[in-house]
């Protein structure tokens, strides 16, 4: 069973960060090929995202995400509070254009998200450069 405090913290992070990547290593220094590939996809799209290095607390975080999202392997990409997937799904959705729609076509929060969001919106995001939010750390207590 996951430690309740860690699980709460993880749920809070998922809720507070619109695009959140749990990865091995950091975006600057990925420590796993699959994590590196997801970072590559997000960076190439100019998406702003928060990244959490799971290595300092790998097993506790496996337990926590297992309970929260029924998924125990990393990387994991969460978008708007939901697990989108790992490397396979992220790459598949990037290739098909679905990821750009989902991440680039943000609708104002008071209107429902359109299904066919325009892809041009991602260019606006690119001005600010990738992953501005600093990598976060979870202490393995």
């Amino acid at each position: 069973m996951a430690e309740p405090e860690l699980k709460d913290k993880v749920e809070e992070l998922i809720k507070d960060n619109e695009v959140l990547l749990f990865m091995k290593g950091t975006p600057e220094q990925p420590r796993c090929g699959f994590s590196m590939r997801v970072v590559g996809v997000l960076d190439s799209m100019g998406v702003e995202y928060a990244a959490l290095d799971v290595l300092p607390a790998l097993e506790p975080l496996r337990e926590a995400t297992g309970e929260i999202a029924d998924w125990r392997t990393f990387p994991q990409l969460y978008v708007k509070g939901n697990l989108l997937g790992g490397c396979d799904i992220v790459e598949e959705m990037a290739d098909s254009g679905e990821l750009a729609e989902m991440l680039g076509g943000e609708a104002p929060s008071d209107t429902p998200a359109p299904n066919g969001a325009p892809q041009s919106a991602k260019q606006e995001l690119q001005q600010d450069g990738p992953h501005q939010s600093p990598p976060m750390q979870i202490e393995n207590s």
Binding site: F34, D70, W71, R72, T73, L83, L84, G85, G86, C87, D88, I89, E92, M93
Partner: protein, 79 residues
Amino acid sequence: MAIALNEVRLLIEAALPGAQVEVVDETGTSDHLKATVTAAQFEGLSRIDQHRMVKKACQARFDDGSIHALSISTMTPDG
């Protein structure tokens, strides 16, 4: 040899009756596998839920360390 490709295929087929399953060894070490699964059961599910079904079928082999990484590609029969 960590696990027979055939065993992974059978596990997935047992969990998803009627599915078309192909499992290949990506590294030659039999622990980094790639499964391509076409199943009618995936209809209407999100990708992550489709992957959850495939992963769940092989969970015991992850837990005992036979499989280190399983790359998954899912499809429905009508594309």
